[in-house]
């Protein structure tokens, strides 16, 4: 296919003509009629002698074996070719051996693509034969031209259609996330792929400080994580592109500012594969992606703002809940921190981790419906009192039912008192029936409750609490969650958090 693209139109035309099945059939028909005709096809008569199909001429038993006669034959053919060039019509001739033949210029409009002829016709040529041959060749030429035009159109349109489809796919890929941490590296990788560049950086503008903050920089030649520095607006290629608010393109870079109403950042690609120069096409496709990226980034920023607002409200609510009394209290900061760390380690995606964060903050909100005297009762609860306590997960879930944002959080809240063996409440769920977030919260909540000082019971040491968790693994707690928990609490940062909550330094 690549070879055909590199050919000239005339070469392609000849290629198709020679390989044409219709021409082969015509040759077979004429061959049957004239017994042993010799075919020849030439592209041009500029060269003297023209390049004939030597193999065909060699078949001629008159001129083939004898060089001198062959020269006379060639001159004879050249004469008729020149004549047909002038008249632009089929010309008949008789060769030195008194065998007849004819030559037809391959014409379309004013253009002559070459000449086709046959000689060594040992039967008498009927008057109608040349006319039929002319008609046949004209139809064949038209068909080949149509085929070539379609092929040219296909070759022109196909790469554009592929590029358009790529741009459409990129749009789908970048508009499918609202997480900036996921979005920006994705944009960088896609830019590198479509421009076949080795490096890409996405920087966002810090308007107050007038600097570009490097958010993502990827270089496929480097396996290490890159830590580029901030860049002042006006400095370096990206800084200049942002200051000028226009695309800058050089041999080995293109820098496209991300412009909404104002500039919000810049995408810069470097070093095209194989040291080639970036092209206008690269620039146009990068500009298209940049336009889509701006929308995706703005949406993600807006979503992040709303999310922060929602989390702040939830934190405020959680603070109010913490004031209910000491019996409800487990250290909130440590609880949320350990639960989120476990969620991440156990493969939850960022959205699921955020849901887990909300659930951790609100899991005991249903205790608002439990009287203070029951919550703070130091002695054993009566059956009725315990029943009220057991209702708090369902009450909490019910509270947040109308809040659409908290929809994924509700099952985690509802089932955070279920036990792994099915002995918990409210629905006696077992094993994997219990949401993973709930299983995580059950372990962390029990651990922190045991190590947090309480007036009515002896506080356990971290080691004692760990042993208690291990003892209940497989019954109250999910063994996989317990195993992960035991790893997490060995992390220095988590150890420090626990020690801080317990009011003393870590060992």
């Amino acid at each position: 296919m690549k070879k055909i693209r590199e050919m000239s139109y005339e070469e392609k035309f000849f290629n198709k003509l020679i390989k044409s099945d219709d021409l082969k059939k015509e040759k077979a028909i004429l061959g049957a009629f004239f017994k042993h005709p010799v075919w020849w096809l030439i592209k041009s008569v500029k060269k003297n002698p023209p390049k004939f199909n030597e193999t065909s001429l060699a078949q001629c038993d008159f001129c083939g074996p004898y060089a001198k006669k062959r020269g006379a034959c060639m001159r004879n053919i050249l004469r008729v070719v020149l004549k047909s060039k002038k008249t632009k019509k089929l010309e008949k001739f008789v060769c030195p051996n008194h065998l007849s033949g004819f030559c037809l210029p391959l014409i379309q409009g004013d253009k002559i693509y070459g000449y086709i002829g046959l000689c060594h016709l040992d039967s008498e040529m009927p008057e109608i034969a040349p006319e039929l041959f002319v008609n046949f060749m004209h139809t064949l030429i038209k068909d080949i031209q149509k085929e070539l035009e379609l092929s040219k159109l296909y070759e022109t349109i196909r790469p554009r259609a592929i590029a358009l489809s790529t741009v459409h796919t990129i749009h789908r890929l970048i508009s499918s996330t609202l997480d900036l941490d996921e979005l920006l590296p994705r944009i960088a990788r896609l830019c590198m792929q479509v421009t076949q560049s080795n490096r890409c950086s996405v920087k966002l503008l810090d308007e107050k400080r007038n600097v570009l903050k490097p958010i993502t920089t990827i270089d496929i030649r480097s396996k290490r994580k890159l830590y580029p520095k901030e860049l002042r607006v006006g400095k370096g290629i990206p800084g200049k592109a942002v200051k000028a608010e226009k695309v800058l393109r050089g041999h080995d870079y293109i820098s496209v500012p991300l412009i909404d109403e104002n500039v919000i950042g810049v995408i810069t690609i470097y070093d095209k594969l194989g040291g080639k120069a970036f092209t206008q096409f690269d620039q146009e496709i990068l500009m298209t992606i940049a336009e889509q990226a701006v929308i995706a980034i703005k949406n993600a920023q807006l979503y992040k703002e709303q999310e922060n607002l929602a989390i702040s409200s939830i934190k405020s609510l959680a603070t109010i809940l913490d004031t209910r009394g000491p019996s409800t209290f487990i250290p909130r900061t440590a609880f949320v921190k350990i639960v989120m760390a476990m969620g991440r380690e156990m493969g939850l995606n960022p959205t699921e981790v955020r849901s887990l964060q909300c659930a951790a903050l609100l899991h005991d909100a249903g205790q608002l419906f439990v009287p203070d005297e029951i919550l703070s009762k130091p002695s054993k609860l009566t059956g009725k009192e315990y029943q009220l306590i057991k209702e708090h997960p369902a009450k909490g879930a019910e509270m947040f039912e109308p809040t659409k944002y908290l929809k994924p959080v509700i099952p985690i809240i509802l089932h955070h008192h279920e036990n792994y063996d099915g002995s918990g409440y409210p629905n006696n769920l077992k094993g994997a029936e219990i949401p993973l977030g709930s299983r995580i919260m059950a372990v962390v909540s029990a651990f922190l409750a045991m190590i947090t000082p309480k007036s009515y019971r002896v506080t356990k040491t971290v080691e004692e609490a760990k042993q208690e968790i291990i003892r209940n693994s497989g019954t109250q707690f999910d063994p996989k969650v317990v195993a992960e928990f035991l790893k997490i609490i060995e992390q220095r940062e988590i150890k420090e958090t626990i020690a801080k909550e317990r009011g003393h330094e870590i060992a």
Binding site: P159, T169, R186, Q193, V194, Q196
Partner: protein, 93 residues
């Protein structure tokens, strides 16, 4: 199955050749099926296999998975020679 065996299967050859000729392309199974003229479900399976072999990179999002050609220069050189060999064999036969 390894690359040199997979490339002998027409659908795999078409997909590999498509991305080899259009290394900047990123497309979904639907798109690749259109460019290669093959059945979408068969293309989907072949794309998964080629991503496993790292011939293609999968870009997975919730609604679809898009695929692009590898950037590994050694692998590209291997693919290049495998395609040439396959084409030569095709011409001979």
């Amino acid at each position: 199955m390894k690359l040199h065996k997979l490339i002998k299967i027409p659908i795999y050859f078409k997909i590999i050749a498509f991305f080899h000729e259009n290394p900047a392309s990123i497309d979904t199974p639907r798109g690749v099926a259109a460019w290669t003229g093959e059945n979408r479900q068969d293309v989907k399976k072949a794309l998964l296999k080629l991503a496993e072999l790292k011939v293609l990179t999968a870009h997975k999002v919730s609604s679809t998975t898009a695929y692009s050609f590898t950037r590994n220069s050694k692998l590209i050189a291997q693919i290049d020679s495998a395609i040439k060999k396959e084409r030569q064999e095709g011409e001979r036969s």
